[in-house]
């Protein structure tokens, strides 16, 4: 049982960790472009910010999945 719980914990960790890395990679590209656009036109801050957080969905899904997996452990 203890080994199962350990595996579940590792699974949850992977779910959140990998999705966080994916989000970071995606936001890196968007963030760079957004900063570039802002340098040209400062009013784009709002839109840039919004575009930058779009990949946040990935990590949110990761978090949800992690929570569901932990739920398995009971």
């Amino acid at each position: 049982m203890a080994a199962d719980v350990g595996l579940i914990a590792i699974g949850a960790g992977l779910a959140i960790g990998l999705s966080a890395i994916a989000t970071a990679i995606a936001e890196k590209a968007i963030g760079t472009a957004a900063i570039g656009a802002m340098a040209e036109k400062e009013q784009l801050f709002g839109k840039g910010l919004i575009l930058t957080v779009i990949p946040e969905t990935i990590v949110i899904f990761g978090l949800v999945v992690a929570i569901l997996i932990i739920g398995l452990a009971g």
Partner: protein, 655 residues
């Protein structure tokens, strides 16, 4: 409220001699959004009013003075009086005099600065000469004797080098702050060799040329500098006086002239023939009657005004129209894009859902109170950010509400029984005692009342044990997205007719219904055949194909991932609860229990941890709430792309 301000397209044609009057009146009305006339072969654009050039000239002078004097251009209200030809002449004369005076003073300051700097350099050199016990008179080159003054790192090394070249030299040295100052006198005949030796010893020469003007020494120099300083001060004083005396004159006239020259340039936006002019623009329907009446009155009816409904393809300027309470939320709409004329303005919807989403995510009484106070304070400090801060104030209040619902106070969901008893006897807040499992032990705690615990409450979904808050998020998503689809249906219905609207929007709802039916029958909740759901689902897919084409089919899973995306309402909150719990139970509380100095340390950890969490707790929920609207909700119905309504008239800076 659901739609933007209704507009009428107006065309005003009048004889040219009414042009100035009409412009004045339009300016006063401040209701007409002028459409710039594009020059064509048939109809040229108008010429600026005659006085325009003169006005611009004075305006440039006055603005120059304002900027030289560093006056802040505040907005002064009130209508400028009508100016006659003579007034303009006077104004022009006065502003020119002032301008010349200011420029003269600025020049004087600049010159004094320059001279003071030069003299200060000289004073430094004189100081060197004095330190070396030299006299300015002795520093003249003679036929026999040459000299060099400068700095060097090591005097011994210098002597060593010099000794190899000549024995007949005299060296005097002194200390500066950091440097070794040296003066060397030697035979003119050995100059080249000596200079070479000096160079090799790392000698840096100081040029003392020009000092012979001050043989009397430092005193005279200082007197001169003091004199210059006084001149500079006098010029500054004079500028200060000009500023005090004329500040209101300058600001008043800057504003007046700016207005007048805007009026004078207005004909550039009109169409003109030899004897008449034509203005095209947009006036809000509510103001149309009044505007037409006024224009007719001042021209004695010798004006032709035609007003008509906007045509389908015209781009109508957008003026958002909301009660004061909802106006801050226009900020969020603008941040995305202004709505176009034919669609529903989403501001009113965001007024309800934005604080709701923010509140569910932050959901803590303590945090809500802190952010509420913070934003109330900031609103005083930063009046420009009023709209955004008002939104956040609303959102903070809702967060406090959800904090009570979730029973969270700075991340504490319960307190120790002793603290609970103290609260009961001292403050009259009696908490319910409960036994919970904590790290495998059962402990008794006094728990806060709540409708739902974000971290603990679970529910059964098709046999899976899921946190309730996540399910609530998804359900809110389901409702919100379908609301979006219905709004899209409504917009399309008015745009393209029933069939198009149905296929484009309702098909998605049929698809959802199909999936739900299949899930329900597969779980055996209702005794219906799985085929019923499949048929409904297929109907939905076919509808989407005819409504949105292939892209629609590709996007099909998106509607479900959008719904799941609303689970962030729970997840972002859970992350914040998690962090708060770590700060309280794993860091601050164990510290404080150790007593003594650790209590202070624990309190610091508590403050610091919660400060970070509140920062994240504002940023995260704000961005995610905004994003849920922009990405998930707006894509179902909102097109945007409206241009801002900017009426010709006085600019309002009260926004």
């Amino acid at each position: 409220m659901l739609y933007t301000e209704r507009m009428s397209h107006v065309m005003i044609v009048a004889p040219k001699h009414y042009q100035e009057k009409v412009i004045d009146r339009l300016y006063e009305l401040g209701a007409c959004h002028i459409e710039d006339h594009q020059k064509s072969d048939q109809l040229d654009i108008g010429k600026p009013l005659e006085k325009g050039e003169k006005l611009a000239e004075i305006l440039v002078k006055i603005r120059a003075i304002i900027s030289y004097l560093g006056i802040e251009t505040a907005v002064s209200n009130g209508k400028a009086k009508e100016l006659t030809e003579k007034d303009y002449y006077e104004l022009g004369k006065k502003s020119k005099e002032l301008y010349l005076d200011v420029v003269k003073q600025l020049d004087a300051i600049k010159q004094s600065d320059q001279q003071i700097q030069e003299l200060a350099e000289k004073a430094k050199l004189l100081d060197i000469v004095t330190r070396l016990h030299l006299k300015v008179e002795t520093l003249k080159e003679t036929r026999a004797l040459a000299h060099a003054v400068g700095t060097v790192d090591s005097i011994e090394r210098l002597r060593g080098r010099l000794d190899t070249v000549t024995k007949r030299y005299e060296l005097s040295s002194a200390k500066d702050d950091k440097r070794n100052l040296v003066a060397i006198f030697f035979e003119q005949g050995k100059k080249d060799a000596v200079m070479q030796a000096l160079h090799e010893a790392g000698f840096a020469e100081i040029n003392l040329a020009g000092l012979e003007l001050f043989p009397q020494g430092a005193e005279k120099l200082q007197r001169k500098i003091a004199g210059l300083r006084q001149e500079r001060h006098a010029a500054e004083q004079r500028l200060q006086r000009i500023r005090q005396e004329h500040e209101s004159f300058l600001l008043r006239n800057e504003r007046m002239l700016a207005e007048e020259s805007k009026k004078a340039e207005a004909p550039l936006r009109f169409a003109a023939t030899g004897r008449s002019f034509m203005v095209k623009g947009w006036i809000p329907k509510r103001q149309l009657g009044h505007a037409i009446g006024e224009l007719n009155r001042i021209t004695g009816g010798k004006i032709h005004i035609e007003a008509e409904e906007p045509k389908p393809k015209e781009s109508v300027p957008i003026k958002l129209k909301h009660p004061a309470l909802m106006q801050p939320f226009e900020f969020l709409t603008r941040l995305y894009e202004l709505p176009n004329y034919k669609e529903i303005d989403p501001t009113v919807l965001m007024f309800f859902t934005f604080p709701l989403f923010f509140g569910i995510m932050l959901g803590d009484v303590g945090y809500g109170l802190v952010t509420l106070l913070l934003f109330l304070g900031l609103k005083r400090k930063i009046p420009e950010g009023k709209a955004l801060l008002n939104i956040l104030i609303f959102a903070s209040i809702v967060s406090i509400g959800f904090g009570f619902a979730f029973g969270e106070y700075f991340g504490f969901e319960h307190v120790a029984p002793e603290t609970g008893e103290k609260l009961c006897s001292n403050a009259g807040i009696c908490l319910h005692e409960e036994e919970i499992e904590h790290h495998g032990e059962t402990i008794t705690v006094a728990t806060f009342p709540r409708l739902l615990s974000r971290a603990e409450s679970r529910m059964d979904v098709f046999g899976y044990d899921v946190l309730s808050i996540l399910v609530i998020g998804a359900v809110i998503g389901f409702i919100h997205l379908n609301l979006g689809l219905l709004l899209g249906f409504w917009n399309a219905l008015h745009h393209h007719g029933f069939m198009h609207a149905f296929l484009e929007k309702i098909s998605w709802m049929i698809l959802e219904a199909g999936v739900i039916l299949i899930a329900v029958s597969a779980q055996g909740v209702f005794p219906i055949s799985i085929w019923a759901g499949t048929i409904v689902l297929l109907a939905g897919v076919i509808g989407i194909y005819f409504g949105d084409g292939i892209p629609g089919l590709v996007e099909m899973p998106a509607i479900f991932s959008n719904m799941l995306s609303y689970m962030r309402l729970g997840a972002v909150g859970l992350a914040s609860v998690g962090l708060a719990t770590v700060v309280n139970e794993n860091l601050a509380m164990p510290m404080m229990e150790r007593g003594g100095i650790f209590i202070i340390l624990g309190a610091l950890i508590f403050l610091f941890g919660h400060a970070i969490n509140i920062g994240l707790g504002v940023l995260g929920p704000f961005l995610h709430a905004v994003r849920l609207h922009y990405v998930e909700f707006f894509t179902k119905f909102y097109q945007g792309g409206g241009i801002e309504y900017t009426p010709f008239g006085r600019e309002h800076n009260d926004a």
